[in-house]
């Protein structure tokens, strides 16, 4: 492919993608019958993870490395803004058989 053409395509793509600056997104994780769905999510630094607890039981989203610990009361949702890149395994303190993972890109 010619360099000029590559640049043109890049410019066109940028017209679509770059017009809107990368916005922080909200990523939803549903909790139903003691299961985090999806169990694994990917986010970018600055995004917000929202856990929607549909159970009648209190849960938590607690990072294995203790970097976060979010209380999730019954029938409520709670959120966490992720700022640090990395892979975070998390579990529920009350029901450690509930597990999930958040991967945060730079």
């Amino acid at each position: 492919m010619q360099p000029g053409r590559t640049a043109l395509i890049a410019a066109l793509l940028c017209g679509i993608v770059c017009a809107v600056p990368a916005r922080a997104e909200t990523i939803k994780v549903e909790i139903k019958n003691l299961v985090f769905t999806p169990a694994e999510v990917t986010a970018k630094a600055g995004d917000t993870i929202v856990w929607d607890n549909q159970d009648v039981f209190a849960h938590t989203a607690t990072a294995t490395d203790k970097s976060f610990d979010v209380m999730l009361p019954p029938k409520k949702s709670a959120s966490l803004k992720v700022t640090k890149a990395g892979t975070f395994d998390y579990f529920c303190k009350f029901h450690p058989n509930m597990r999930g993972k958040v991967t945060v890109a730079e």
């Binding site: 019958n33 003691l34 299961v35 009648v56 039981f57 209190a58 019954p74 529920c92 303190k93 009350f94 029901h95 450690p96 058989n97 509930m98």
Partner: protein, 173 residues
């Protein structure tokens, strides 16, 4: 197979069950009663712990047992009402209740760290037994789909509590 499993559940209590009970597959009314009783027992045990323990982790665990089992039992009561099933007392429920009563009396004599340890150890053992009963007998025997589904949620709750109890147990050492 079922006879062995049912007998294993019955073996929770030291007193042997009548032979007839060991051969019978529990019906939904009995299953509902057993599941409700298993939850109520754990609520009573937790209430005893909340009266006696000063350990933060133990108390947090016990508080969660009260909340979770109250929530499950509330769902169970709503379901039996909807299904027009009257929970039926049975030898397994009676054996569970008898054994729990004995355990509470035993724990009542303890205090401080000895109580905490004995309570949490019993919680690990108790949840294991109930998990096993749910998995091998109660869930496969349940004929109503909604009851089966509630028992499956109950199993996940109990398994979660077992792991939580193990964590608390590890912290007490």
């Amino acid at each position: 197979m079922r006879v062995i499993i049912y007998a294993a559940l019955a073996a929770l209590a030291l007193s042997p069950l009548p032979a007839a009970a060991q051969n019978a597959k529990p019906n939904d009314a009995q299953i509902a009663h057993i599941a409700y009783t298993a939850g109520a027992i754990d609520i009573d045990a937790a209430k005893q712990a909340l009266k006696k323990s000063k350990n933060k982790e133990v108390r947090a665990f016990a508080e969660n047992m009260v909340k979770d089992h109250t929530a499950v039992n509330k769902q169970a009561l709503a379901l039996v009402k909807k299904l027009k099933v009257t929970p039926q007392d049975n030898p397994t429920s009676q054996a569970l209740a008898k054994q729990a009563k004995d355990k509470r009396a035993e724990l009542a004599k303890l205090s401080g760290k000895a109580f905490d340890k004995a309570y949490v150890d019993n919680e690990v053992a108790y949840h294991k037994t109930v998990d096993n009963a749910l998995e091998t007998t109660l869930i496969p025997s349940a004929s109503n789909a909604e009851l089966k589904s509630l028992l499956e949620t109950g199993l996940k709750i109990f398994q979660g509590h077992e792991q939580h109890a193990e964590h608390v147990d590890a912290m007490l050492k």
